[in-house]
């Protein structure tokens, strides 16, 4: 049956998976702090699935989610080969259980008991084709300012100063100089792109792949756009 306004389609995405090796929340926090400190912007709003397969004892799921969000990740759900009870418990708490592509393959006989749990594909994160609207900002984004276009493209009519940060779930267009940080496809969008009239950025990131200034040499100081090929960032001349 054709549905006019919406359509569900399965799609596969690359998501970051955080593998927990300890149930000790304090340890997890300490390690996350270290990790995130290395590249705070890189992790900002990055969608994360938590794999609990390696845990030997139970863990407070709600506390894990809270902890993940404390570090400004976007919590997606839990994953890992776990018992039926655990899954049930996780879902009862209102969290989604994300199957890896492998888990959706009809289980082999060695893990026979699992075949009973027939998870539908609906459970995998399902994102409809990206059809973003634009958030338009007139004027310069100054050092210390941050602007986030949630579920939108971001259009800036003006420059982005060094020390400023622009983030969008879709594309970023800067009609001016990009001297600060630009993070496109923040929630995980591989095709997101960054366009600017003058590339002098401190950092650009698309779908979690990032470049610092030193990688931008080729188009430094000229109009350019940045996009992803497979997993590599690439810059091209804009005009």
């Amino acid at each position: 049956m054709a549905d006019a306004s919406i359509e569900f389609k399965g799609s596969s995405f690359t998501l970051s998976v955080l593998h927990l090796k300890s149930s000790e929340l304090a340890d997890i926090r300490a390690d996350l702090t270290k990790k995130v400190a290395q590249a705070p912007d890189f992790f900002y709003l990055v969608p994360v699935v938590v794999n609990i397969e390696q845990l030997s004892c139970s863990i407070d799921y709600q506390a894990v989610k809270a902890l993940i969000e404390e570090f400004n990740f976007t919590f997606v759900g839990f994953t890992g080969a776990v018992t039926k009870e655990q899954r049930f418990h996780i879902r009862e708490l209102g969290f989604s259980f994300v199957n890896t592509a492998k888990a959706n393959v009809p289980p082999k006989s060695t893990i026979a008991p699992k075949s009973e749990v027939k998870e539908t594909a609906i459970e995998a994160p399902k994102v409809v084709e990206h059809l973003y609207t634009d958030k338009v900002h007139r004027g310069q984004i100054r050092s210390g300012q941050q602007i986030y276009a949630k579920d939108q493209n971001l259009v800036i009519i003006g420059s982005v100063s060094a020390g400023a940060e622009v983030i969008a779930d879709g594309n970023i267009h800067v009609y001016g100089s990009l001297r600060g940080r630009a993070i496109a496809g923040a929630k995980g969008h591989h095709k997101a792109q960054i366009y600017c009239q003058n590339l002098e950025a401190e950092l650009v990131s698309i779908n979690g792949n990032y470049w610092l200034s030193e990688s931008m040499e080729e188009h430094w100081g000229s109009p350019a756009f940045i996009h992803l090929t497979d997993t590599e960032l690439t810059s091209s001349k804009l005009i």
Binding site: R142, G144, Q145, G158, S159, S161, A162, G163, A164
Partner: protein
């Protein structure tokens, strides 16, 4: 209606107080009624530069706390009668001011004065925010070096988001760029950013370029704002700033290094 002008910068020691004093006095010399307010609570600098430090009885904080009236605290300048100074307190801490009382004081001053010039403390904390909150115009004082430009950029962000005009969605604060301690020679040698570099990064209209000058230190020590030194380059550059603030179009001077005279060239001076 009085024009409330904040002289601000983010970074410290770039020439805010020097500029506030020169601009305040310069506007008064043109016949306008001007009050200079020192928002740098705890440091008290403006009265020294203005040469009235011995006449301070009450200060801004006394007025805020209702311990003195405005008339008791205002110091009339001895050189120009249309200029008054509201000094900062040296004994209070930075948090002695609050938005509401400052607003009332400014409103009261607005009834008598044409210009209210606010000398902001450095930084981006409460004191600096207080100084810029009620401003109609901002003179963003910047030295031609990366860290100063970056801080000015930061302050411009604050002007656009944390001021009364921003909060009430009124017409934004009018922004002016004042480049101070400009040394054309060091720009040519690549040690400093040029006027064009700074304009390109901050993209706000240029109000003036004040050259690095011996005259400034001399003026500060004498308690005579440098604008009174009409022979000096800095004094003349501030004079141009006054004319521009009053709507005139004045060409920019002191932007290129002086060519050495034939004698100094011959004798390697």
């Amino acid at each position: 209606m009085a024009r409330i002008i904040v002289v601000t910068s983010g970074k410290g020691g770039v020439g805010k107080t020097t500029s506030s004093a020169a601009i305040g006095l310069g506007l008064a010399l043109k016949g306008h009624k001007v009050v200079l307010i020192d928002f740098d609570i705890g440091l008290r600098n403006l009265d020294l530069i203005m040469g009235c430090e011995r006449r301070v009885v009450y200060d801004f904080v006394n007025v805020i706390n209702g311990e003195a009236t405005l008339n008791q605290a205002l110091i009339k300048d001895k050189r120009v009668s249309s200029l008054s100074i509201l000094p900062a307190s040296q004994t209070r801490d930075k948090d002695a001011l609050n938005k509401e009382s400052v607003g009332k004081v400014l409103e009261e001053l607005g009834k008598t004065f044409d210009f209210i010039v606010c000398d902001s403390p450095a930084g981006i904390e409460a004191g600096a925010m207080m100084a810029l909150y009620y401003a109609d115009e901002a003179i963003v004082t910047t030295n031609p070096e990366v860290s100063s430009v970056r801080d000015s950029d930061r302050i411009l962000g604050m002007l656009a988001s944390r001021s009364r005009r921003a909060e009430l969605n009124l017409e934004p604060i009018k922004e002016h760029l004042l480049l101070t301690r400009y040394s054309p020679k060091r720009v040519e040698e690549g040690e400093m950013l040029s006027v064009e570099d700074v304009k390109d990064i901050l993209s706000i209209p240029l109000l003036g370029v004040i050259p690095e000058s011996q005259a400034v230190l001399k003026a500060s020590n004498a308690g005579e704002p440098v604008i009174l030194d009409t022979e000096s380059d800095a004094g003349q550059a501030y004079q141009d700033v006054i004319d521009r603030l009053l709507g005139e179009t004045v060409e920019f001077r002191f932007l290129v290094a002086e060519k050495k005279g034939i004698f100094s060239r011959m004798f390697g001076g």
